[in-house]
C-alpha cells in the first residue's frame, strides 16, 4: 500500500484492463442476486432495444473499484466510492467480450491520511461508461 506521505495530487494509480465476458455476468447474477434478463439473455436484451446483453452497472462499478482495492492492498481502506452510470457496457457473445479500461488519479489529499481518487472507466473505442467516479481511500 502506498504511504500517504509518498502520494501527491496527480499521483496515478496503476491502470488496469478487465475483460468482461458473458461468463462474468452469469457469475455476478448469482453473486449479487440481480438476474435481470438483459444481463444474460440476448433475445430479451434486443427485444427491449439494447444492442446486445449489457453488464450490470453494479458489476462495472465493482470491477472498476478493483483498481482502488489493488492499489490499497487492504480493501478495507476504501471508505467511500460513488459513480454515475453514463452508458452500458455491451458484452458480445464471443471469446473476447468487452474490455473495461480503468484509470485513477489522486485529486486531493484529505485529513486523516485520506485521499480523494478520481476514476475513469472506458470501453474499446473510448466511450466512458462511468462519470463522476470518486473514492476516498485511507493510506498508512
Amino acid at each position: 500500500m502506498p504511504a500517504y506521505d509518498e502520494v501527491e495530487v496527480g499521483t496515478e494509480l496503476p491502470e488496469q484492463v478487465f475483460p468482461v465476458q458473458r461468463h462474468n455476468l452469469i457469475l455476478y447474477c448469482g453473486a449479487s442476486g440481480d438476474s435481470n434478463l438483459i444481463h444474460w439473455n440476448e433475445r430479451i436484451a434486443k427485444a427491449v432495444g439494447l444492442p446486445d446483453v449489457i453488464a450490470h452497472g453494479m458489476f462495472t462499478m465493482a470491477e472498476a473499484g478493483r483498481i482502488l482495492t489493488d492499489w490499497a492492498g487492504d480493501p478495507g481502506a476504501v471508505l467511500e466510492y460513488g459513480v454515475r452510470f453514463s452508458r452500458p457496457v455491451v458484452v458480445p457473445d464471443d471469446d473476447k467480450g468487452a474490455q473495461l479500461t480503468v484509470r485513477g488519479k489522486v485529486e486531493e489529499k484529505l485529513d486523516g491520511n485520506r485521499v480523494l481518487v478520481g476514476l475513469t472507466a472506458s470501453v474499446e473505442g473510448g466511450s466512458q461508461v462511468l462519470t463522476g467516479a470518486r473514492a476516498v481511500v485511507r493510506l498508512p
Binding site: N24, G33, G57, A62, R66, E80
Partner: protein
C-alpha cells in the same frame, strides 16, 4: 405517470436481518475476478487488522435484491414503472468494513424525487447497521424514471 411525491421521507425497514457469509463474500469476489486474500482467508484478514474476511466495497448491493420486496420501489402507491427505470448513480459510504458474520439491519428512505428534464430522479438512502446498532454503511442510489416528469407546459397550466 409521475411518481407520487408524498413518498419523500418514507422509511422502509427490511423485514429481516442479513447475515454476511464468508462463502458469499468469496462468491462475490470470484464474480469480479478478485483474488485478494483478505476476501478469502481469515488469517490474511486478521493480519490486516480485521476480525474476519471482509467484503468488497460494493458487496452491500446484495441487500437490494435480498430485501427488494421491502422497498418503496415495489410499493404500488409510488407509481414507479420498473420497465422505465435505469440506475443513474450509486454511492457507498463505509463507516467500517463489512465483515463475515455481521448481522445487518437496513432501513431505506426515499430522500428525494425531482424532475430532470422529461425524467424524474428518485434518490433512495439505505442505512445499514450492525448487530449493536452501530452504523456500518450508507448506500445512496439514484434511479432514473424515464419520461415520467409532468411536461412543463402542462405543469404551468395546472399551477
Amino acid at each position: 405517470m409521475p411518481l407520487n411525491r408524498e413518498f419523500v421521507g418514507r422509511e422502509y425497514p427490511a423485514s429481516a436481518t442479513y447475515e454476511v457469509g464468508r462463502e458469499h463474500i468469496r462468491q462475490f469476489a470470484d464474480a469480479i475476478g478478485d483474488q485478494n486474500p483478505i476476501y478469502r482467508d481469515p488469517a490474511a484478514a486478521k493480519a490486516a487488522g480485521h476480525p474476519d474476511v471482509i467484503a468488497p466495497p460494493t458487496f452491500l448491493t446484495v441487500l437490494g435484491f435480498r430485501f427488494g420486496f421491502d422497498s418503496p420501489i415495489v410499493d404500488p402507491g409510488l407509481g414507479l414503472d420498473y420497465s422505465l427505470v435505469v440506475h443513474g448513480e450509486q454511492r457507498f459510504v463505509l463507516h467500517r468494513p463489512v465483515v463475515a458474520g455481521d448481522v445487518l439491519s437496513t432501513v431505506s428512505k426515499v430522500a428525494e424525487i425531482r424532475d430532470a428534464g422529461r425524467n424524474e430522479l428518485m434518490t433512495l438512502v439505505t442505512d445499514v447497521a450492525g448487530a449493536d446498532g452501530e452504523p456500518v454503511a450508507t448506500l445512496t442510489s439514484t434511479l432514473v424514471s424515464r419520461g415520467t416528469a409532468v411536461p412543463r407546459d402542462t405543469a404551468s397550466k395546472e399551477a
